[in-house]
């Protein structure tokens, strides 16, 4: 799969610039050139005993870009993030952040990355402002600069009115926003967001996504991991699919879908497991067939060409329901990973329209 880069219209379509209100602050501390590579990951691997958690992973993240890192649980996302964050040492390979090696220049890299871990990493008995001040000091920000930075970030994440309240009193969404703010306190060059919307309500999720878009628009390089396909679809400029520790595809969603030999999916629900699929496979124009219990997915170039024969099958078995949809990110994901929904996969199974 070729690596491609473009300012995806998909990623832009959910932008709501006015939703930022008057939060007209600049979170980026340095001049960045959109499109220029910020992070270059080169054949990065991590081995635990006989298990390759991450194997020869390579990709780039550019300034002004959100690269979505997608994969099932156990795909290696968290291991990859922890290596990039310098928490774990790669078994082989390297990654360069603005030319600095994560292996050889950990101290320099640590100053340039901001991490929002999947599990909240906050002091519940401190206030939001105290959390920000503490982590700011750890990154050698002091005095008036720190005070200004804390005020900026509280404003940015919409916590200016609750900044002096203890984090323990916050809602899940507020904690998530603060978790993001802490990652930004030292003006990082690369922001690693590990499922930053996990476990929050839809409104809070949208708030967080808008914050991430805002960061991207200010020129930040962002690596974003998520399970949610629709979230990746609406947010990420490019996608990187990880499966069993390996990159299986990198590119914009449009380009990834364009490169597929099929463009639509026909979904047959309620088909008896005993039904022989050979006649269906023989219809022609079917690129790929997936069967999981009572669900059969036909990946096809043009669904309309197959409607007649399929209708005859449905007439024989009235319990069968048919759905047709253009290939979605979810279909692409399942196709690339060769997996049906299982533990950790949270894509919507109802994404196909009824036929």
């Amino acid at each position: 799969m070729s690596t491609m880069f473009a300012q995806s219209s998909l990623a832009r379509r959910n932008l709501r610039p006015d939703s930022y209100g008057d939060r007209s602050l600049t979170l980026v501390g340095t001049t960045r050139e959109p499109g220029k590579v910020a992070l270059n990951v080169d054949a990065l691997s991590k081995r635990y005993g006989d298990i390759d958690a991450v194997s020869g992973v390579s990709f780039d993240v550019r300034h002004g870009e959100i690269l979505g890192l997608l994969g099932l649980n156990g795909a290696g996302k968290t291991t990859l993030i922890s290596m990039l964050a310098t928490e774990r040492i790669p078994s082989s390979g390297d990654a360069l952040l603005l030319g600095h090696s994560i292996r050889a220049e950990r101290r320099a890299v640590r100053r340039m990355i901001g991490v929002a871990p999947q599990d909240l990493a906050l002091y519940p008995m401190l206030t939001a402002a105290e959390n920000l001040r503490f982590f700011g000091r750890i990154y050698d920000i002091h005095g008036a600069e720190l005070a200004s930075r804390v005020a900026q970030l509280l404003d940015f994440v919409g916590l200016q009115d609750r900044g002096n309240d203890r984090v323990a009193t916050y809602s899940g969404g507020m904690k998530r926003r603060l978790n993001l703010a802490v990652a930004l306190v030292h003006r990082p060059k690369l922001i690693l967001l590990d499922e930053p919307t996990a476990g929050v309500d839809p409104q809070s999720r949208e708030d967080i996504l808008n914050l991430v878009r805002r960061l991207r628009d200010e020129g930040n390089a962002i690596l974003y991991t998520t399970h949610y396909m629709e979230e990746a679809e609406g947010l990420c400029d490019r996608l990187c699919f990880l499966n069993q520790g390996k990159v299986v595809a990198v590119g914009t969603q449009d380009a990834l879908l364009r490169n597929l030999e099929f463009s639509e999916v026909i979904e047959l629900k309620g088909l008896s497991p005993r039904v022989d699929l050979a006649p269906i496979r023989a219809l022609g124009g079917i690129c790929h067939v997936e069967r999981h219990d009572g669900l059969v997915r036909l990946f096809v170039r043009r669904a309309a060409d197959l409607l007649g024969p399929l209708q005859r099958i449905m007439n024989r078995d009235k319990s069968v329901r048919l759905g047709i949809a253009p290939i979605s990110l979810e279909n692409l994901f399942l196709h690339l990973t060769g997996e049906e929904a299982r533990e950790g996969y949270e894509g919507s199974p109802e994404s196909l329209r009824s036929g």
């Binding site: 774990r88 101290r107 991490v115 599990d119 982590f135 750890i138």
Partner: protein, 368 residues
Amino acid sequence: MKTLAVMLKDLRLIGRDHFGLIALVVVPIVVIMVIASATQSGGGSKSIVFPVVNEDQGPVATALIQAFRKHLDVREVSRTTAHQLVADSNAAPAALVLPPELSKRYLAQKPSTVELLTDPAQWQELQAIKVVMLLADRETASLGDPLGQELLTVREQSITGDALSFSSLEQNIPGFSLMFVLLTLIFSVTLALREEEVWNTSTRLSIAPLAPASLLGGKLLARLIVGTAQLLLLLLFGHLVYGLRLGHSSVAIIAVATAAVASMTGFAAVVAAFVRTREQAIPVGLAVSFVLASLGGLFWPLYSLPRTVQTIAQGLMTTWSMSAIQDVMLRGRTLTGVSTEVLVLVSYALISFLIALRLFRYNGEARA
């Protein structure tokens, strides 16, 4: 059924913490053994050093010394050595000076005065010596007129401070204060390091440009400040409510309290490096505190412990802490007078910190 399910789940969780499970049984056994040996198998008064300055060299002095030897570790020494053993090294709670011509006067039924140079800070050992002296006096009385009046008068003189005697409170208040500070520190340091993992802030800290020494050092310094304040407040409470003497030098008491708490904080960090769960922290913390308190003379005087244990106790920070506090509070020493103890305690703190730094790490592999 649900209660049963909860119980089974918790039993499973407890069972998987193997170290905690072992600690649950082994640790109390160790504590019981230590305390049992301290209270039953001690050297008793025979381990109390009792310097005697024999300026008489007559039969009465010899008889007295022989009588003392049955109960005490008598050492015939010069007046200078006796003073050094009592006042400088605090190796003996008291020294007896038998004056010239004591025997001659005694046998002539003339009264004499013997000097007892004391360190009242070792009040329990001193009490034991006084009891032995009474016994010895009765035994030597057979040399003279058994029905005669008191021929020997003891003139007691403290050579380590103003007071001639102290109450048990002056042992117990500093002792229990130190024990509670140690207990608090072990729990506080252990749980504080684990809480960073519970809150997941250890993830942020382990990838921040923060040296492990700064992280551990910062956490321990906070506990050092709180622990020192706790100890000083407890001593102040003892002073205000029970009239506990605090000595003459506030600088010395603050320095000693800080050094003692520093040594305990460092030790707590070493314990924390081994303890991985709350289930382990509780029995281990309690056991370590009780063992160090009992061996370090916080509950009872060291002479009641077996000699080997007394030797081991010389290597414990609790022993040095108690000794330094008694030097300042009971013997009225200044900072210069306790500089050795302070130095030992600070060294203990630094060495413990370096060991803890070597042992402790959060889940991440990479260090700054």
